[in-house]
């Protein structure tokens, strides 16, 4: 089984120039009313996560089925996870900041109906934000809310306790709107523990049947975006292991999948000329070193490790050429291209070389051999292959790597308490580079080593300059000023190597071109194509088109 075990969810919008045409329909929102049917076809999907489904469509549950977020419940705007800065109208038409970033005013679409026929209005939006403000368990993104109020039937003002530009993605792009008329009588405890088996949303799809092995969604016949969705039926199928899901993907049973297929060229792509893989870099795989004790507290050791690793070789041998090497500043490209520091535009790791690593260690007077234990989650087979390659590359450089494979739960425990020498993990899946660097670098979110850290900066990196740059970025929505700050953060990252960047985390998503077209690609990244990324899953699902 791979790392998509019950994977992450994060997501946003997109729309490259090429996608603009096909998205035009949703831009002209206020017009057409319900779409005129015209859907056809069945799309069969697997998420790549192992195990059966649970009848859980409660968006406040960390284990809600992926489809709940995006296909059934929708946020106000779509922030493209695959293309930073691209924001599309969803339930909202437009938004504007005021009051120094403490207030955002949203104009809503006027032709939206809940799937039970009731109209969607500003009261639903106010209810959803009020719920989050009053209950920390429901405020799942930790928004600094100060209250929301209706501004007419189709306008909403959302107030924050502090400038909230950096929360735009979560407030506008992740908070999904609930129907007030259905939830208002439930207490917060009832809401968080409800399974919500019969979800009523605004989304393009409705749940039409559920079993632990298959879920069927049917197109919402009254969907408000003209001409969408395109597929009549989307069916999710569960598998217990990659072996069985891969077999189904390879023989064409599954047309949209997020499953890791080894030797994908031979086992999948060569089988049918319409089989395709969409691989858009969305997160970075890192070696996360302990910065406060042990050999990796020494910058020279981190530099030596980075210098000895042949990232292209890992990409070629383990990932069939996908998962390409990242850059020394660990910026996810082309997603965050706008934030790339000009001085780092051509930065690279240099030619991997054990002798260069040895001389780095020697000039810093590090006594070799250095022994380091690296943790990875047991069962992530591709990470094991990666680390075995790294192990053999570090050996001639004078670094002995020991690979430990704790189970997921114990890995998480070590990671959050900072109790590790080094570990391998990935970070990303956010449309905003601020959120990305914040989770990796912000010292304010990490308690001392030994205390559980539930946010990020697991190796307790602490740099006052980086902290103040991050707060400057959060306090403004002037992109020129922000980009200058990002450039400084990137330079500090490349110099100090708080984490050792490896490669763009593989997110190979398989599409069967005989069944489906118009999926996101690197040249048309209108959304993250992964089935497990929310709410992109909903945005992609409604734009996928049956192949003729």
């Amino acid at each position: 089984m791979t790392r998509h075990w019950r994977m992450r969810s994060i997501a946003m919008v997109a729309a490259a120039v090429a996608a603009a045409g096909l998205l035009a329909a949703c831009g002209s929102s206020s017009s057409t009313g319900s779409s005129s049917g015209g859907q056809s076809g069945v799309l069969t999907v697997t998420t790549g996560s192992a195990g059966t489904f649970e009848d859980n469509f409660n968006q406040f549950s960390p284990n809600a089925e992926d489809a709940a977020n995006g296909m059934i419940y929708e946020p106000l705007f779509f922030f493209d996870t695959a293309k930073s800065g691209v924001i599309q109208p969803w339930l909202g038409n437009s938004y504007a900041w005021s009051n120094g970033g403490r207030t955002v005013t949203v104009q809503l679409k006027q032709n939206v109906k809940w799937t039970d026929g009731k109209p969607f209005t500003s009261a639903d939006v106010v209810y959803s934000f009020d719920l989050a403000q009053k209950n920390t368990a429901i405020n799942k993104f930790g928004l600094p809310l100060a209250g929301a109020s209706a501004d007419g039937t189709y306008g909403v003002k959302i107030n924050f306790t502090k400038p909230a530009y950096s929360y735009a993605y979560y407030a506008l792009g992740r908070v999904e709107i609930l129907p007030e008329h259905i939830w208002q009588s439930d207490s917060p405890d009832q809401i968080t523990t409800s399974l919500n088996e019969h979800p009523v949303g605004t989304g393009a799809y409705e749940l039409s049947s559920f079993s632990s092995q298959a879920m069927t969604f049917t197109a919402n016949p009254h969907y408000y975006m003209a001409g969408l969705p395109k597929f009549k039926t989307i069916r999710f199928v569960s598998y217990n292991s990659n072996t069985s899901s891969d077999a189904a993907i390879e023989n064409g049973t599954i047309a949209w999948a997020g499953s890791f297929i080894p030797s994908i060229q031979k086992l999948y792509l060569s089988r049918n000329n319409k089989y395709a893989v969409s691989d858009i870099p969305l997160s970075t795989a890192f070696l996360v070193p302990n910065l406060h004790s042990g050999p990796t507290a020494n910058l020279a050791v981190r530099q030596a490790i980075s210098a000895a690793i042949d990232r292209s070789y890992i990409s070629k041998t383990v990932y069939s050429g996908y998962a390409s090497p990242t850059n020394p500043e660990a910026l996810i490209l082309p997603n965050y291209a706008a934030q790339l520091a000009p001085s780092l535009a051509s930065a690279s790791f240099g030619t991997p070389s054990a002798s260069r690593a040895r001389s780095i260690l020697a000039s810093a007077h590090v006594k070799t051999p250095v022994s380091i234990t690296v943790d990875m989650v047991s069962g992530y087979t591709d990470y094991l292959s990666d680390l075995q390659i790294i192990q053999s590359e570090l050996k001639p450089a004078g670094i002995n790597l020991t690979i430990a494979q704790p189970a997921y739960a114990s890995f998480i425990s070590d990671q959050s308490t900072g109790d590790f020498q080094m570990l391998m993990d990935n970070f990303g899946y956010v449309p905003d580079p601020y959120d990305y660097y914040y989770v990796i670098l912000a010292s304010s979110i990490a308690p001392p080593i030994g205390q559980a850290d539930s946010v990020g900066d697991y190796n307790r990196f602490k740099n006052a300059t980086v902290d103040s740059l991050l707060s400057q970025i959060a306090a403004t929505n002037d992109t020129t000023a922000q980009n200058a700050d990002f450039a400084q953060i990137e330079q500090i990252f490349a110099q100090q190597l708080p984490e050792i960047p490896l490669f763009n985390q593989q997110d190979e998503i398989e599409f069967d071109g005989n069944v489906v077209t118009n999926y996101p690609t690197l040249s048309n990244p209108y959304a993250a194509s992964a089935v497990y990324i929310q709410p992109d899953i909903g945005w992609v699902a409604m734009h996928l088109t049956p192949a003729k």
Binding site: I10, E54, K140, S212, N240, S244, A407, S413, S416
Partner: protein
């Protein structure tokens, strides 16, 4: 009556020990469920401070020191309150178990019974006709038993489902690509039966050798007993001697083995569920363990414990019925 009461007392004590171990074991696994849940929530956004305490309360993981928690645990087990699963929060453990136990019970149960009946029947025959061609097939079945199950399952999938003949489905409990309603209706049952063939076959083929060999050897030694010779001397028909005299006595050890395997039917066949993506309880248990899902683990262990003890109790009582010697207290 005293026999039954003594048995019941023994099984009650055994159940208490099992329940206590069931409480303690999951807590020796490193990590804790709240951290796992928070890690998963973080993947969708930052978690606010205080979330960990709120979750612990919400999950009903108990509070206070380990003895107080044990008290709360015994109390909820006695009332059959199994709590909410952590790895699939907030799904109740009872519905998690309910959604998978029937698949396991029916498939693994039927396969175990078929394997036992076939194995014991063929074993009796092989022992009866020892030295013939029938007896010569015994070693080949032990070869099948020795094969790694995982590998054998994959071979079956390769040959019958994906690569050579495309005659049988490779995965899932029923045809998930058709619009079937799970329940008591013809099309679903037909589909479920078709999907059960390969998994059941794999279980039967890999487990039959054990029954067969055991029965055959017991049969051979029983056949040399005096009462068999006496029966032959009386001129009874050979089928009556084989079934009524030899096999009835030879089967006793196999019955005890059968009881234990019936109990373990509930725990599912983990490797089978993996290979065939069968929605059974075994895979649930693996998921629960790797997520530190105490409530789900405890729920599943509880069901397994009760099933094993229950099956043993039934067979113990049955034994007393088949073989009167076991009833006599010394």
């Amino acid at each position: 009556m005293r026999f039954i009461a003594r048995k019941l007392g023994f099984y009650l004590a055994a159940a208490w020990v099992a329940l206590t171990v069931n409480f303690l074991l999951p807590r020796f696994i490193p990590g804790n469920p709240v951290e796992v849940l928070i890690a998963r929530m973080q993947q969708s956004g930052p978690t606010p401070p205080g979330e960990a305490q709120a979750l612990a309360k919400l999950l009903g993981l108990g509070s206070g020191n380990i003895f107080q928690r044990y008290g709360q645990y015994v109390d909820s087990v006695a009332h059959l309150r199994l709590g909410l699963s952590v790895s699939d929060f907030p799904t109740p453990v009872s519905s998690e178990i309910a959604s998978s136990i029937f698949w396991t019970l029916i498939l693994v149960g039927v396969a175990t019974v078929i394997s036992f009946v076939l194995g014991v029947g063929l074993g009796a025959l092989a022992g009866w006709k020892r030295g013939t061609w029938l007896d010569a097939i015994v070693p080949s079945t032990t070869l099948l038993t020795a094969m790694p199950y995982f590998w054998f399952g994959l071979i079956l999938v390769y040959v019958f489902a994906t690569n050579v003949f495309h005659v049988l489905p490779a995965s899932n409990g029923y045809d998930t690509s058709a619009a079937l309603t799970v329940g008591f209706n013809g099309p679903f049952i037909a589909s479920a039966a078709e999907h059960a063939i390969l998994p059941a076959l794999s279980i039967i083929v890999t487990s039959i050798g054990g029954w067969l060999l055991g029965m055959r050897n017991m049969m051979v030694s029983t056949l040399s007993e005096d009462y068999v010779v006496a029966a032959e001397a009386k001129g009874l028909t050979s089928s009556r001697i084989m079934i009524g005299y030899a096999a009835r006595n030879a089967v006793l050890p196999s019955i005890s083995g059968f009881a234990i395997s019936l109990g373990f039917v509930v725990s599912g066949a983990i490797a089978m569920e993996y290979v065939f993506s069968y929605p059974g309880l075994g895979f649930k248990l693996v998921t629960a363990v790797s997520n530190d899902d105490y409530p789900l683990m405890q729920g599943i262990f509880l069901v397994i414990t009760l099933a094993v003890l229950g099956a043993n109790l039934v067979v113990d009582l049955l034994h007393g019925f088949i073989d009167p010697r076991t009833r006599i207290a010394r």
